[in-house]
């Protein structure tokens, strides 16, 4: 498709924004200049993003009121629920159990014009400098359909917030662009889970941007769970600004999809921030998952630890690119990174690339990556005890994934993901 023409037309047709007009317009201009990233774009070497913008993709950036049924995420039945349908925030389907006053959830366009306008102005679009590639700008041109989430200072949420991205693709190919701006006030604590579901099996592509600010002493646990099915492609950026002594744990779990690209940015812009980043990609069929992470250490005394693990079966492929920047003021940075892959499919592949750029001298940084096969000695040991080859492999792979699984502190969800993994590995007695 001629993407620039297509989206310029869509832009003209979307319902006009009240308060984000200028923001959207500048993003549309940026997109019109850059277009979609070409294959030669270094950041998009493996994810051939242009191929995903196919003729026949439907994009409706205006909310419709149609009834929609979707599967809720097992293990999170009690949680707060924020729902997007085809990329647009849907207030009617959203359901909060949290006491009013603890948390604010409203359309992003509204927030841009009320008492939270300052926050929106300060944080919306902060990710764009890290992604000069058209994709981020394309989402920005339609940002008014997004949501604003604020957890008030000192509030500890009793239940997680689960954000459902529902794709109503029962009747055709769908393109969607969710936009989220999250804000955790000082000393607040919250768990935010993103999950993706579709109503049908037509191809779909979602292009998401979620930006969050974790204020001083606040604590965010963020989980992104991808298990939508082989028809769905995704590009998403999770961009987290961390203020003084803020702590974030981000866990990205990818179990299925067509072509998936996840950007995760940790912006350590104040002292003593701490981030933990975990990823697990367990892939089969032709699924491709491309994880790009950035830790940008700008101030002293920040800590980050990153562990991504991949298991690739069949013809699937897993890509990891981990950037760590240590700016010249960021003395006493501790930054660790590790990526481990197991190839089990004959045509499976893994690519891994650490990129460290360090401009301070008093820092501790390390990185490591491995691509291997299952340990034959271990496999034989298990089989010699009467355990079938399938179960022996499942036990070993489950153990490999266990390092990531056990990081999910929210038990209901951990149990559910654990079951999904056992099922995938066909463990059976």
């Amino acid at each position: 498709m001629d993407a620039i023409q297509f989206f310029t037309d869509a832009y003209a047709q979307q319902s006009s924004s009240l308060h984000l007009h200028a923001f959207q317009q500048s993003n549309l201009d940026a997109f019109s200049t850059m277009g979609l990233p070409a294959i030669k774009h270094e950041e998009w070497k493996y994810t051939k993003i242009r191929n995903l913008f196919k003729d026949g993709l439907t994009y409706t950036p205006t909310l419709s009121n149609s009834e929609i049924k979707f599967q809720t995420l097992k293990g999170t039945e009690e949680a707060n629920r924020i729902v997007f349908v085809n990329g647009l925030y849907n207030a009617a389907l959203t359901h909060l159990i949290e006491a009013e006053g603890n948390i604010v959830v409203k359309p992003l366009d509204t927030a841009a014009g009320d008492e939270d306008a300052e926050l929106v102005k300060k944080h919306l679009g902060h990710s764009k400098d890290y992604h000069l590639d058209g994709i981020n700008a394309l989402n920005g041109a339609f940002a008014a359909g997004g949501v604003f989430i604020k957890v008030k200072p000192n509030v500890v949420l009793t239940q997680p917030i689960v954000i459902y991205h529902v794709t109503d693709n029962a009747n055709g190919m769908i393109f969607s662009q969710p936009r989220i701006l999250g804000y955790l006030g000082k000393n607040a604590e919250a768990t935010i889970i993103e999950t993706y579901v579709s109503t049908g099996n037509s191809e779909s592509l979602s292009n998401e941007v979620i930006e969050m600010c974790v204020e001083r002493d606040a604590n965010l646990l963020y989980i992104k769970l991808q298990n939508e099915g082989a028809h769905s492609s995704h590009t998403g950026t999770t961009h987290i600004r961390q203020l003084e002594k803020a702590m974030t744990q981000a866990i990205t779990i990818s179990l299925s999809g067509a072509i998936v690209r996840n950007n995760l940015n940790m912006i350590m812009e104040a002292e003593y921030g701490e981030s933990h980043m975990y990823g697990l990609y367990l892939l089969n069929g032709n699924t491709q998952v491309d994880n790009h992470t950035i830790v940008d250490n700008q101030m002293p005394h920040c800590f980050s630890n990153e562990l991504y693990k991949g298991i690739m079966d069949d013809s699937s492929s897993g890509i990891f690119n981990g950037k760590i920047f240590v700016r010249k003021d960021a003395q006493k940075t501790n930054a660790y990174q590790s990526n481990k892959n197991v190839l089990i499919g004959a045509n499976a592949s893994a690519n891994t690339k650490p990129q460290l750029e360090i401009f301070a001298d008093d820092v501790k940084c390390s990185h490591g990556c491995t691509i291997g096969k299952l340990d034959e000695e271990a496999l034989f040991y298990l089989r010699a005890r009467g355990i079938s080859e399938t179960n022996a492999k499942a036990l070993l792979l489950h153990a490999f994934a266990g390092d990531i699984l056990q990081q999910i502190k929210y038990e209901g969800l951990r149990t559910h993901i654990d079951e999904l993994i056992s099922e995938r590995l066909s463990f059976q007695i």
Binding site: F380, Y381, R383, A384, R385, G386, I387, H398, A399, G402
Partner: protein
């Protein structure tokens, strides 16, 4: 029970077993001794079904079945057990969960219902007492960070749980302190019956004081070059392998 005829095997072009003959009947205990590198572990591995070894000739019959045709897991489920000379450390797999899976796979193979948690726990307690192994060890990852002796004891515990027809113990006595040696031997003796058999690979007479063999064989250079009763082990302890080596080398 086990009938090995003219078994030959190699690894990466290297001929290691050069025609092994061995007949083990129910109720018997056989000991295999022999110098380092003579092929004892290779024999054990070939019997257990390790894929690295290529069987180039001969046959092995186990309880009426062609053993060499069976997958490693089916050999185990049919009642063959190998206590590894070097048990493998498997991080992230809990010992208890592993044993439960093994026991239940065997039951399934035999057409029995899997054990429920309570039944499994009861049997596990009973066997733990038998081999005097500690609960804390079993709640850890399989063999991970276990001391040499703990690994060997865990092998015997697995044997007790799986109740094999034929157990091959590959140097289970190496690295054991005197108490552990007694416990391991005790475990073997308690599991011993007229229906099962043991093949014990060892370098030391010491173990054979506790587990008294019916036959002792000497493996040298890929062949069993001498067989006898328990007195042969005593003779070897006294005289070393030289006299056997020179006899065997002359015969070739």
């Amino acid at each position: 029970m086990l009938k090995i005829e003219n078994l030959q095997a190699r690894i990466e072009e290297k001929e290691i077993l050069k025609g092994i003959n061995l007949d083990i009947k129910p109720g018997e205990i056989h000991a295999i001794m022999g110098p380092n590198g003579s092929g004892k572990s290779t024999l054990a591995s070939v019997l257990a079904g390790r894929a690295d070894y290529e069987v180039t000739g001969g046959s092995v019959e186990f309880l009426g079945k062609d053993l060499l045709e069976l997958s490693p897991e089916d050999r185990s489920r049919e009642g063959l057990f190998l206590a590894f000379q070097y048990p493998v450390e498997i991080p992230g797999v809990s010992t208890t969960n592993f044993i439960k899976t093994a026991v239940n796979e065997k039951r399934k193979y035999q057409g029995e219902e899997p054990l429920d948690a309570a039944q499994f726990l009861r049997i596990m307690k009973e066997k733990m007492n038998l081999v005097e192994i500690n609960q804390s060890l079993l709640s850890r990852s399989l063999n991970e960070g276990f001391s040499g002796g703990e690994k060997k004891r865990n092998e015997i515990f697995q044997m007790a749980m799986l109740e094999p027809k034929l157990a091959i113990l590959d140097e289970t006595d190496s690295g054991l302190d005197i108490d552990a040696l007694r416990i391991v031997a005790n475990g073997v003796n308690q599991l011993r019956s007229k229906d099962n058999a043991f093949l014990v690979v060892t370098h030391y007479q010491r173990l054979l004081d506790y587990i008294v063999p019916d036959f002792v064989h000497v493996l040298y250079n890929g062949r069993i070059v001498k067989s006898g009763t328990k007195e042969l082990a005593l003779e070897l302890e006294e005289r070393g392998y030289d006299f056997i080596k020179s006899e065997a080398d002359q015969a070739v």
